[in-house]
Amino acid sequence: MTTLLAIAALRVRYDGRDVLRALSLEVGRGEFVALMGPSGVGKTTALRSVAALQPFDDGRIVVDGFALAPGPVPPESRLVPLRRRVGFVFQAHALFEHLTARDNVTLALRHVLGKTRPDADATANKLLNELDVGARADAWPAQLSGGEAQRVAIARALAPDPALLLLDEPTAALDPARRSGLGATLRRLCQQGRGLLVATHDAEFARAHADRVVTLG
């Protein structure tokens, strides 16, 4: 199994205190890695560092050959290769409130990847159908249930076809039935060859679905 994400000795300081100290982990292609630990232990910080949403102080992050160094976050123009490789699903979904579910998915396809609207619509419909929210394609984010919004958010993150998908606390707002549904969905993504790094404090979910569990704290 080839390595997709390699984190080595990652250290993040915040207000003079270590939020993360010497975190090392790897995620391979087709692998589902759960990042476990209680709240405040730095799981989200680790994901955000990998997605270059915040700087880190020490260590090294390599995503499929693209390396991030300690220090300030580089300008977006230098992060284009990283953005193509990494998808991010936020805990609060963060769907674009002024766009329908479908257009949340097509926005990057059209304006970042330069696809035509029919092409983008077809891709979005396929993704939404695979995630079982195809019927809600024309709904506004405010009309979606928590589970539906999360699946639209996953579809949106998958639209540019990233090799690595980061998910922050995906089970937080789900009932048990939906949790196992999500687990199955994520396993399917692994079978497509993607690597998954999932921050969660849900031990049962991690044990049931992840290939490997890395515990922090």
């Binding site: 997605a51 949403l53 977006e76 123009s77 284009v80 953005r83 193509r84 990494v86 998808g87 991010f88 936020f90 609060a92 963060a94 769907l95 674009f96 409130e97 002024h98 926005l107 990057a108 304006h111 970042v112 709904a139 506004w140 984010p141 405010a142 009309q143 979606l144 249930s145 949106r156 993150a157 639209a159 540019p160």
Partner: protein
């Protein structure tokens, strides 16, 4: 105590603050008032400051017994108030730039040219009649200083005003800069104005004025202020011989309510034009300011913040004066453009704060989601942040536009005759604010209410339905 009203902003030789003691006033009208008080057996005359165009309304309200401050003798004034006999004869004279003095001899030579005067005066009425007959462009000012400085600056081509005012302006400019045409356009008189019900006091005042004409004290006053000439002697003779008080050669224009509707409509169009263009400027500049404040580097944030605080912290009136008169030395903006610019730049500061608030109201995770999807900062603003911010900003923007519509009334101070100014002219002419005020209010509401409705509908349509 004998209370009399006048406007010290009118200045010498009528009424001005005494340079030696600015709490006191001096001028020939001040001395006429004192002479009247003495003649009536009162110990002293007490001055009450009132805006010149409001003297009639104030005297009717009982703010003072008599108004004296270059108050003109017009049929309309005689019809509505108790008016004294004429105590001074003045000529409406044209002032033009020296190079025009050989080609312009009267109003008839001013077709298509801009002629300035003080609003709500006989001179303005004369210009309005000439506008209809010879096609000149009448420009009304709120004061009698700026018509002449604008004549020198080339903003207007001629000024029509009382010869005393013209001569004073010429002295102020060192006797050069413009020429006063010898042939008067009209002759009229200064009078005192009293409340309509006060005709008994008026008759006593008339008796005092006659006495002052007879005993030479009025002549001495006028000589002291260098406004005496032979026409005053002739006036005194006529007054003393006839005993009549009616003496005016000027006819006022029609005062029926219908006659004002076209000018009110025109003024409403000016208000709408100024408001719409100012708002457009405010939106554009406001967007730039807000972007600078939200996205800019430290120095840009500092500059934009400084601009916003200075503009919001100083009166719009001051900004209007600075842009129109203050900048006149560097760039001579036409009044309408200056008005739009001042209002636009002022409201831009308020718009900028609305847009900043709206931009910052878009949840941060959405912006981060945009980044992880590979959008540039510009795309995030254009595709994600901007469209949502616009929805947040719509209601406060509408409020601002309605406020701007009303604030546009202020631009009348730089000679733009908009709805409120036109209403004031109308009200001054007919001597009542009731009908003009109601009409004006209806027109403003007709402009602002549909706007508020439209904004509510847009907001409803744009609001994404909640599940």
């Amino acid at each position: 105590m004998f209370l009399w009203g006048g406007d010290a902003e009118g200045g010498a030789p009528f009424v001005e603050a005494d340079p030696a003691d600015p709490s006191r006033v001096r001028g020939f009208d001040v001395e006429v008032a004192e002479r009247i008080a003495r003649g009536l057996g009162r110990r002293s005359a007490q001055f009450v400051q009132v805006q010149w165009s409001n003297i009639d309304q104030s005297v009717e309200r009982g703010d003072f017994a008599i108004g004296l401050s270059g108050v003109e003798d017009t049929p309309a004034r005689r019809a509505r108030h108790a008016v004294t006999l004429p105590y001074f004869e003045f000529r409406e004279v044209l002032a033009v730039r020296p190079e025009d003095a050989n080609t312009i001899h009267g109003l008839a030579d001013l077709r298509g040219r801009r002629v300035a005067t003080l609003g709500a005066t006989i001179a303005y009425d004369v210009l309005l009649q000439a506008r209809d007959s010879t096609g000149l462009i009448a420009i009304s000012y709120d004061d009698d200083v700026h018509p002449y400085s604008d004549l020198l600056a080339g903003r207007v081509d001629a000024v029509l005003l009382d010869h005393i005012i013209a001569q004073r302006a010429l002295r102020r400019h060192g006797g050069t800069g413009f020429a006063i045409l010898p042939q008067p356009v009209a002759i009229s008189h200064y009078v005192g104005v009293l409340a309509r019900t006060n005709s008994a006091l008026r008759d006593s005042v008339d008796a005092v004025l006659r006495e002052a004409m007879r005993d030479g004290s009025l002549e001495q006053i006028f000589r002291r202020w260098s406004v005496w000439d032979e026409t005053q002697g002739a006036l005194f003779e006529r007054v003393l011989r006839s005993g009549a008080t009616a003496a005016t050669g000027v006819t006022a224009s029609s005062t029926g309510a219908l006659a004002y509707l076209p000018s009110l409509a025109r003024a409403a169009a000016v208000t709408l034009l100024v408001s719409v263009l100012s708002m457009a400027a405010a939106v554009l500049v406001g967007l730039a300011l807000a972007s600078g404040r939200v996205y800019g580097a430290g120095w840009l944030r500092l500059i934009t913040t400084l601009y916003i605080e200075i503009i919001r912290g100083t009166p719009l009136l001051l900004q209007l004066f600075v842009i129109y008169y203050g900048l006149a030395g560097f760039v001579r903006l036409p009044a309408l453009l200056a008005a739009i610019l001042a209002l636009g730049l002022n409201y831009a500061a308020y718009e900028a704060e609305i847009y900043r608030g709206a931009l910052e109201a878009v949840p941060r995770p959405q912006l981060e989601a945009g980044r992880t999807l590979g959008f540039s900062e510009m795309q995030i603003l254009r595709l994600i942040r901007g469209p949502q911010a616009l929805r947040y900003a719509l209601a406060p923007m509408t409020n601002d536009f309605v406020a701007l519509l009303k604030d546009s009334a202020l631009v009348s101070v730089i000679t733009v005759v908009e709805l409120t100014k036109q209403t004031a002219i109308y009200a001054t002419n007919i001597g009542s604010w009731v009908v003009p005020g109601a009409l004006c209010a209806v027109v403003y509401l007709a402009m602002s209410l549909p706007l508020a409705r439209l904004a509510r509908r847009l907001e409803r349509r744009w609001r994404t339905p909640a599940g």
